[in-house]
């Protein structure tokens, strides 16, 4: 049996808008993933949690304009700690021009206000199982 996909969801830094992050968290849990909602955290704490929890996915949420400054830091710290398999995604209000920049710095996908919950869940499943193959319990 596959063990459930483990997702860490964090609000990035000081961003106050929790609605999207919590809605996504509830949905991923409803479709059988294990979700750890960290609340607001800075890159170091997020990466430490990913390490401790052996997370498959780190999902960051920000609508506060810090995506380009704090976002890439999370990816870099993950790689520094050898967490190369972790799928890193972001959701929020991200200007279209910044999406390519984030992807080039290691984000696997950026979800914007019209992304559906199902698309997010599908992307995670495909990313985790597609890359590493089915995981054993």
């Amino acid at each position: 049996m596959r063990r459930p996909i483990k997702v860490i969801i964090a609000k990035l830094g000081l961003d106050i808008h929790w609605r999207g992050a919590v809605v996504v968290a509830k949905f991923l849990k409803d479709v059988g993933m294990e979700v750890i909602y960290l609340g607001n955290q800075f890159p170091e704490q997020i990466v430490n949690a990913a390490l401790q929890e052996s997370a498959d996915v780190v999902a960051l949420s920000t609508l506060g304009g810090n995506h380009l400054t704090l976002g890439p830091k999370v990816v870099k710290l993950l790689r520094d700690k050898g967490l190369n398999d972790v799928l890193v995604i972001m959701g929020g209000v991200i200007p279209p021009g910044d999406i390519a920049a984030l992807k080039s710095q290691g984000f696997h996908e950026i979800f914007t206000p019209h992304s559906s919950l199902k698309d997010i869940a599908d992307f995670i499943r495909e990313g985790v199982y597609g890359r590493a193959g089915p995981r054993k319990a």
Binding site: W18, V22, K26, Y37, F42, G65, N66, P95, P113, H114
Partner: protein
């Protein structure tokens, strides 16, 4: 009106003689039976099914048609009355927009105070009649630009304020003794600091406090429920600071609203219209109880309590919500608390159109959405209005997008004639029925809050967070199921390649602010700053009103981060009970 009852009517008067019931009972009976016949004879079979298939956004079932028979025991003088008179359903001023047009109060805030000052002057030059400042996240959460927590957020989504010198720069050349200024300070803790900076700044400019008109948000739910953060003050302490600000303002700043009970952000976080009003009003009740406990006369502070509502897409529900909220507040203040001054019973509110309802796809469609929402606020009798800009789903508005919002307000105000008649939808069978239903639902939800131990308990246990999150989740699912139609997204989805949109680019602010802070430390009396901060720390636990002591620190050029650090140490941190 065919069935209107005049006091001289001889027939069927009975118990109705004493009231001002709009409709004759016999006539209502006749209308009801006619309505039944109309359904039988005129409606096609598919329209004859159960009525309860259409709902307002908050879940109130709606009929396809309303008639006088839906008014029930509707009593004109008791339920509506006249504008400027009890129960204020039709408006708080006797002349409403003829005497005082709604204030055009567009939000502005980005970059450093010098950058934002330019935007303020631009908006005023184009005809804005009030100022509405939004601050960046470090400022809102009590960090200075040099604090590590602030990294990446300085001057983003709002203007940054580190010290009173920045407050001077923000309002440089702006006549704050004649124009009203709303400071969207979110948290009570930060309100104590920013209001102190504003007041000391005014003194240093030689402006009398009596002339200062404006609003601070100062809502403890912003700290503990609506906006999440890494470091959060416990609800009880945040509530105490909220009340400290109101107590301090009472008697000192006759034209200042020390609080704006923030229904808007509750709604944007997920609640429906009923919960939005019920939660905000519950906070109003708790505040009133606390301040009366402190020995204040209700009529000394209640006239300056103000509210802030969201305008979403359900046009009539928003109008009914605004009207119902006035009647609820009136009853609570008059009958519940025994207020004597009519001003204490006035529900005065600012409205903003809904950011959540705007789309990134085909962004110009947002102009149509916001216009309709803004119109609902005007029909609802709002005191001031902000219309969101079409590029909201991308970033803070460009100058052009901000101008379109401002112009939309001016078009509503000057070109459509809608402001010439007071409460023009008053008497609509549907709007009156919905206003009544909203009122009842608001009371019901307030009762639910009471039943879980009151608002502070509801926050402390995470009950309120769960309520909001559940509602947000329900909404998202309904959108994905196509039940909520969003044009261009799930209804006639846009198939065009995304057109380029000009997106606002932020000025580089962090380095500039850091340089200013280094300079500040070089010229202020650092020992004196420390002394005032230590005094402030003692007052945090003594229970005295905190405001005079914050002003001392601010005057000595303490930074926002230094003062908020004292709070964090003195009050401790609380875990945000989300998910």
């Amino acid at each position: 009106m065919l069935v209107a009852l005049s006091a001289d009517d001889k027939e069927g008067m009975c118990d109705m003689a004493k009231g001002s019931f709009l409709f004759h009972r016999e006539a209502i009976k006749r209308i009801k039976s006619s309505e039944r016949r109309w359904k039988e004879e005129y409606l096609p079979p598919e329209a004859k099914g159960p009525e309860e298939t259409y709902f307002t956004f908050s879940g109130i079932p709606i009929k396809c048609l309303y008639t006088p028979a839906d008014g029930g025991e509707f009593d004109y003088l008791r339920d509506l009355g006249f504008p400027g008179a009890e129960p204020f359903t039709r408006g708080i001023h006797p002349t409403m927009y003829r005497g005082r047009p709604f204030t055009i109060r567009q939000l502005a805030g980005f970059g450093g105070p010098e950058d934002c000052n330019k935007r303020l002057k631009f908006l005023l030059k184009q005809g804005a009649t009030g100022i509405n400042i939004v601050f960046d996240l470090p400022t809102i959460r009590g960090y200075s630009s040099e604090d590590p927590e602030a990294e990446g957020n300085v001057g983003q989504c709002g203007v940054t304020i580190d010290s009173i010198d920045d407050m001077h720069a923000l309002f440089n050349g702006i006549p704050i003794d004649t124009i009203s200024v709303s400071l969207v300070t979110h948290l009570p803790s930060v309100t104590t600091i920013l209001l102190a900076m504003y007041l000391v700044m005014a003194r240093e400019r030689g402006i009398q406090w009596e002339t200062l008109a404006g609003t601070t948000q100062n809502d403890f739910l912003m700290e503990t429920t609506i906006g999440s953060a890494p470091e959060v003050m416990p609800p009880q302490d945040s509530f105490r600071l909220q009340c400290d600000v109101i107590e301090f303002v009472a008697g000192r700043l006759p034209r200042w609203n020390p609080i704006s009970y923030n229904g808007y952000n509750l709604r944007e976080a997920g609640t429906n219209a009923v919960q939005e009003v019920a939660v905000a009003i519950s906070n109003g009740i708790h505040t009133t109880e606390e301040l009366m406990k402190r020995g204040l006369d209700i009529d000394a502070f209640a006239p300056r309590l103000s509210f802030f509502w969201d305008l979403c897409n359900d046009f009539f529900e928003e109008i009914a919500k605004c009207r119902a909220s006035r009647r609820v507040w009136y009853k609570i203040m008059k009958e519940g608390f025994g207020a004597k001054r009519q001003r204490s019973m006035w529900m005065r509110f600012h409205v903003q159109t809904s950011g959540v309802s705007l789309t990134a796809i085909e962004p110009l469609n947002n102009i149509a959405r916001s216009t309709i929402q803004g119109l609902a606020g005007v029909f609802g009798g709002a005191q001031s209005l902000h219309i969101d800009s079409y590029d909201e789903a991308y970033s803070v508005p460009t100058e052009m997008a901000a101008l379109v919002s401002l112009r939309t307000q001016q078009i509503i105000q000057a070109e459509t004639n809608v402001t010439s008649v007071i409460d023009p939808l008053g008497g609509s069978y549907y709007v009156e029925n919905l206003t009544d239903q909203m009122e009842h639902k608001i009371y019901e939800y307030m009762e639910q809050i009471r039943s879980v131990g009151g608002l502070i308990k509801a926050v402390d246990t995470g009950w309120l967070h769960k309520e909001i999150a559940d509602e947000a989740y329900k909404y998202q699912k309904a959108t994905e199921d196509g039940e909520n139609k969003i044009v261009g997204v799930n209804y006639y989805p846009s198939d065009e390649v995304q057109r380029p949109i000009e997106v606002f680019t932020y000025p580089d602010t962090e380095q500039r602010q850091k340089a200013k802070l280094r300079e500040l430390r070089g010229k202020r009396d650092n020992a004196r700053v420390r002394e005032t901060l230590e005094e402030l720390r003692r007052k945090c636990t003594s229970g005295e009103n905190i405001m005079p002591h914050v002003m001392e620190s601010v005057r000595e050029r303490a930074t926002i981060g230094e003062i908020a650090d004292i709070y964090r140490e003195a009050f401790g941190l609380w875990t945000f009970p989300l998910f």
